[in-house]
């Protein structure tokens, strides 16, 4: 059983980190996982994405054309990946940064106002965790508690004061459930 997830957005939106959180949690729960970034001369404001594959056996290709789930943090990411989500797969969209709905009907999609929720929590940088919470609530990959535990265990001590806010962001995002296909 293998699940492929692409996190995509602008550089600076924390898509690489969101993917790493999933990778740590998968590893801590005894699963195989690969995390691979699109690496290149991309900086803040440019596009960034990473692919995370979680599996219970040796993982082949670290990248796939048709992922089981996509977290699209902005419009270019929605435009690029909407057509590629596997049939019956999940598309989690940061509705704060897009101006159109998801058009495909044979995938599960959910619009999450990530920026607004994060700002409501007092820190816009939490947008990635809000979207990650929404992903985890919709894709049966890992329980939210497992992800929180991994965050606590792998986040450097100096950032631990941010843990409660991260947990809150994950929980807020997890309240958004995708439409049935």
């Amino acid at each position: 059983m293998q699940t492929e997830i692409i996190f995509a957005g602008f550089g600076g939106q924390g898509v690489l980190f969101a993917g790493q959180v999933v990778a740590y949690a998968a590893m801590d729960n005894g699963l195989e996982v690969t995390w691979i970034p699109s690496y290149g001369p991309e900086m803040r404001g440019g596009t960034a994405n990473c692919t995370v594959i979680v599996s219970d056996e040796e993982i082949g290709s670290p990248q796939v054309r048709y992922p089981a789930a996509v977290v699209a943090m902005n419009l270019p990411s929605l435009d690029k990946y909407e057509s590629l989500v596997k049939e019956g797969g999940h598309l989690i969209v940061n509705s704060s940064m897009v101006d159109r709905p998801v058009t495909r009907k044979e995938i599960h999609s959910v619009m999450v106002p990530g920026n607004e929720i994060a700002e409501g929590l007092g820190d816009k940088k939490m947008t990635n965790m809000v979207l990650l919470g929404a992903l985890l609530a919709n894709v049966p990959l890992l329980p939210l508690e497992a992800v929180e535990k991994s965050l606590r265990e792998h986040l450097p001590e100096k950032h631990h004061r941010l843990l409660p806010l991260n947990y809150q962001a994950l929980r807020e995002g997890a309240r958004f459930l995708a439409e049935k296909v």
């Binding site: 995390w35 690496y39 290149g40 993982i59 082949g60 670290p62 796939v64």
Partner: protein, 370 residues
Amino acid sequence: MTRELWKGNNAIAEAAVRAGCAAYFGYPITPQTELLEYMSARMPQLGRAFVQAESELAAINMVYGAACTGTRVMSSSSSPGVSLMMEGVSYIAGTEIPAVLVDVMRGGPGLGNIAPAQSDYNQIVHGGGHGDYNLIVLAPSSVQESVDLTVLAFDLAEKYRSICVVLLDGSIGQMMEPAEMPPFQPLRTEYPDWAVTGAKDRERRFLSSIYLDPPQEEAANLRMLRRWQEVQANEIRYKTYYMEDAKFAVIGFGSSGRVALTAVRAARAEGIPVGLLRPITLNPFPEKVVEDLAKQVEGILVVEMNSGQMLEDIRRIAKGAAPVEFFARLGGIVPLPDEVLDEIRRLAKGPLTLEGHPRDRWLARMGTLN
């Protein structure tokens, strides 16, 4: 087992440290730079030598010098940087001393780009520097295998007084996967009997790649070749997947091999009896395995991220026992599993031929692909 999430480049660096690497010399180049960066922090922490040289040429010659002392030394670079090192590589080979070189390949030729490629297969496996020599070449396909093969590289280099290259592509260098680190080996305190360690109270030793007298050079060449026969006899490594009942086989190394694995599984799910051979030692090459496999199957598909450099080896070894087909993406593009799956379907559907060249057929298909 304690697994940690490691980026490929960092994992190789830590594995080298744990294998007892006493000195690192290098020069930054993407997509390998994290390896050097990690070493720049880690080696001084342990009181070991780290030098960011002024160029790759300088770095490899520092490796040359340090290797003469019999201690464990390494360098790392990426394609254009490795080209610059080739003179030093030949000198180290000619001096018959051990060293480890990590090459994280990127798109080329020339400056190319920083995306993953396998287009330096010929340079590393079939030469690169001048003169008659062989490098031991290990090709990992995951972060864990990169760790394990880095440790092995130091052992093999020493055992056969040879350069051992860990050859991977940028995607393995950049990806993160869980890996278990090897135990910490202490730094060496005893040195081999050829090493130059200061000749106080003993006869002076001399290390060089210069044999002005041709019969002496010939003797050195023969000595290296006989040693290479031992490498060929003892050190072949590879991994097969789903080959027991396979009527078709895919062959690919490193990232191409693992992309093919996903495609092979998908093809199996469709009922196509296909297996995979992933060579791990590219030199010495698992020739006997390919020879036997060619007798077992009805068709072979070679997948690479170059224009068919290993393909020529497979064709030479298969000797027409099975038709060979070819698929590749070039210039820094990593093939996706669905592309390879299409090729496996085509292979299984036939008809296959021993006529013509698989590269020509692939090139003709590429016309419609782009």
